[in-house]
């Protein structure tokens, strides 16, 4: 504290002086010369504000990620022998990893489009002057708030072999299904995923829908465009950036579905529910750094590629609207 105080009088007169200079110079040359120095000082201070966060991110995310890259190409941490892509190949040929990757991809490929389309439908429904709009919004958003751990019990009761879903099925004269221990497990987790994430996506779409300029829609109606044309050529175009964002967020959230599965079934669930996170967790248990690092890097690369592709498509379709 004291050294700050000691420093201040030194620096503050200088500011005063530059300010005075500014005032004097303003008549002749404009304020450029003085503000340059002040800018530089401000820049330095603004870096100071940035510092804690950047240091933390470097220490906890960026640097360790470098170490992860290093681990992924060496034999083991003690000998440190460079083995190139051996770890990647080993992980890639691992049966558990293949299973996990396949399940995760299958799940994301089904759940993400469903989440985007259904939430868009919900949003359009709520934007069409429906009564009790804000109440509905609250209802649809509430699953996002509720901790998964709290409702997992109810899911278990619902999807148990003698549970309510099967009773409903029996009403319709269908046989019982062992939801959590059969191929239908994927259906269950898609339902859980949608339940949790639709509200969030819906809010994003609602705000995008309400920000479409009204005059364009009116012109379209006057020129007798069909509702489908309005939706396809105008609304979708204007929402392209939101569409991109919702897709990316759904994708990321689809990786988080591990929570539901873990809370439902523990470390080793039914085969079709074995996700990448299970693989990671179980590898953590064995402390196999090379495997873990290689798997993490492979995931990171895949993520970057997917997000890059999404960005590029959005750029292609939405660029004429943006300006």
């Amino acid at each position: 504290m004291r050294f700050l105080k000691g420093k201040k009088p030194k620096s503050s007169p200088r500011i005063m002086r530059t300010k005075d200079k500014n005032l004097n110079k303003a008549d002749k040359k404009g304020p450029k010369a003085g503000s340059n120095r002040r800018d530089r000082r401000g820049k330095r201070i603004s870096i100071l504000y940035l510092l804690p966060s950047v240091a933390g991110v470097l220490l906890f995310f960026v640097l360790p990620f470098m170490i992860v890259i290093y681990y992924s190409v060496i034999d083991n941490p003690i000998s440190g022998q460079f083995v190139f892509f051996d770890n990647f190949i080993m992980v890639f040929h691992n049966a558990a990893f293949q299973q996990a990757a396949r399940n995760t991809m299958m799940f994301s490929a089904v759940a993400v489009p469903l989440a985007v389309i259904l939430s868009l439908l919900l949003a359009m429904m709520l934007e069409s002057k429906i009564p009790f709009k804000s109440q509905f919004r609250t209802f649809f958003l509430s699953p996002m708030m509720v901790p998964i751990a709290s409702v997992v019990l109810i899911w278990q009761v619902l999807f148990h072999y003698n549970g309510m879903m099967n009773e409903v099925l029996e009403w319709f004269g269908k046989g019982k299904i062992d939801w959590l221990n059969s191929g239908y497990a994927q259906v269950v987790i898609v339902v859980l995923f949608l339940w949790k994430n639709l509200g969030y996506n819906m809010i994003l779409f609602m705000s995008a829908l309400s920000s479409i300029p009204k005059d364009i829609l009116e012109v379209a109606v006057l020129e007798s465009a069909s509702p489908f044309q309005i939706f396809w050529h105008i609304k979708l175009r204007y929402m392209s950036s939101t569409l991109l964002f919702v897709t990316i967020m759904s994708l990321i959230n689809s990786f988080k579905v591990f929570r539901e599965i873990y809370l439902l079934k523990g470390d080793y669930p039914y085969d079709t529910m074995y996700m990448l996170q299970h693989f990671m967790n179980n590898t953590f248990g064995k402390l196999d750094y090379q495997k873990m690092s290689a798997a993490a890097i492979m995931m990171a690369i895949v993520m970057v590629i997917i997000i890059g592709i999404l960005f590029l498509t959005e750029n292609y379709f939405g660029k004429d609207v943006e300006g």
Partner: protein, 322 residues
């Protein structure tokens, strides 16, 4: 009026009849719209019921007595044989309303078995510092990103976005390595520190702060305000709403955490309730609903209090390029 009359004359219909036709058409359109709206409402209502059902069921079931729960749901959770002492029905009866409302579960949880409260307290202890300090760090960082934007800062910001978009599976490995290196594995610090420096809040707050007109800050600068004054007197008050919404988003996210404690905290004594709830054994299944309900209370209170903030926060998240 003029137009109408000429049109009516042109079609060879009298003005009266023309007006009537228009009225009828309007009426048809109106009824059609009402029908469509009521359909939409009905559909939305069905969806709403489906969405709310699990939550409502959890709450109502928490008021059942232990014997009623084990009778209804014993089958689901029975991992070991109870020896035929307790009645368990063949079917799993999902009930909306308990036969007899009793608070016995809550009394047991709150006064007789301290372990649940301990785990609840673990959750609080893990989440609250993350929310507070992540916001503090983010406030400074987003101010840094907003003032004097340059190429280097943009690149750093881009790295933040990439990090934010990475799933846990990727970031947990680095986190684990650092925690091990710093010898904070199995302590709360292993969860606090990565949480505090998570780029999520920085990203959101920066996006918000960049919307503040730059002239406001320049005006303050010309009036002689230093960077600290601009930060504390101008940016922070303007970002109050955004801070609230970000706090809510962080809170929900970490209140729900499962992955981090599973990997970073080997000692299950330190696990938050979100992980512990899944490990409740069959004998205490009666308590599970009450504990689940108690665990739901804080986020629901936050939600009811700050729904508008939450919606605003989600809205700001959208439009990643902005």
């Amino acid at each position: 009026m003029m137009l109408k009359r000429t049109r009516a004359a042109f079609d060879g219909v009298s003005e009266e009849r023309w007006n009537k036709q228009i009225k009828r058409k309007k009426k048809i359109k109106h009824t059609r719209q009402i029908v469509r709206l009521s359909f939409a409402t009905l559909f939305a209502a069905c969806f709403a019921v489906l969405f709310l059902m699990p939550i409502v069921l959890t709450v109502t079931n928490s008021f059942m007595s232990a014997s009623e729960i084990s009778a209804n749901y014993g089958q689901v959770f029975a991992t070991s044989d109870t020896g035929g002492k307790v009645y368990i029905s063949e079917r799993v009866n999902l009930k909306f309303i308990p036969d007899m409302v009793s608070f016995s579960q809550y009394i047991t949880v709150l006064f007789k078995s301290p372990e649940y409260l301990l785990k609840f307290w673990n959750s609080v202890i893990l989440v609250v510092p993350i929310v507070i300090f992540q916001l503090l760090v983010a406030a400074g960082a987003s101010f840094g990103f907003t003032r004097y934007r340059g190429r280097i800062k943009e690149i750093i910001f881009f790295v933040y976005i990439i990090l934010m978009l990475m799933p846990y599976q990727v970031t947990l490995v680095p986190n684990y390595l650092v925690s091990e290196w710093l010898h904070i594995l199995d302590t709360n610090w292993a969860i606090w520190l990565p949480g505090i420096f998570s780029p999520f809040a920085v990203y959101l707050l920066t996006k918000y702060m960049r919307r503040i007109p730059i002239s406001v800050m320049e005006a303050a600068q010309i009036d002689g305000a230093g960077e600290w004054h601009i930060f504390s007197r101008i940016c922070m008050p303007l970002c109050k709403g955004a801070m609230c919404s970000i706090a809510i988003l962080i809170f929900i996210d970490y209140w729900n955490m499962v992955e981090q404690p599973l990997i970073l905290l080997a000692d299950s004594e330190k696990h938050p309730l979100s992980v512990f709830l899944s490990k409740i054994n069959a004998g205490e299944i009666g308590l599970a609903f009450a504990v689940a309900t108690i665990y739901m209370v804080p986020p629901i209170l936050v939600f009811l209090y700050g729904e508008d903030y939450l919606v605003e926060g989600i809205t700001y998240q959208g439009g990643i390029k902005g």
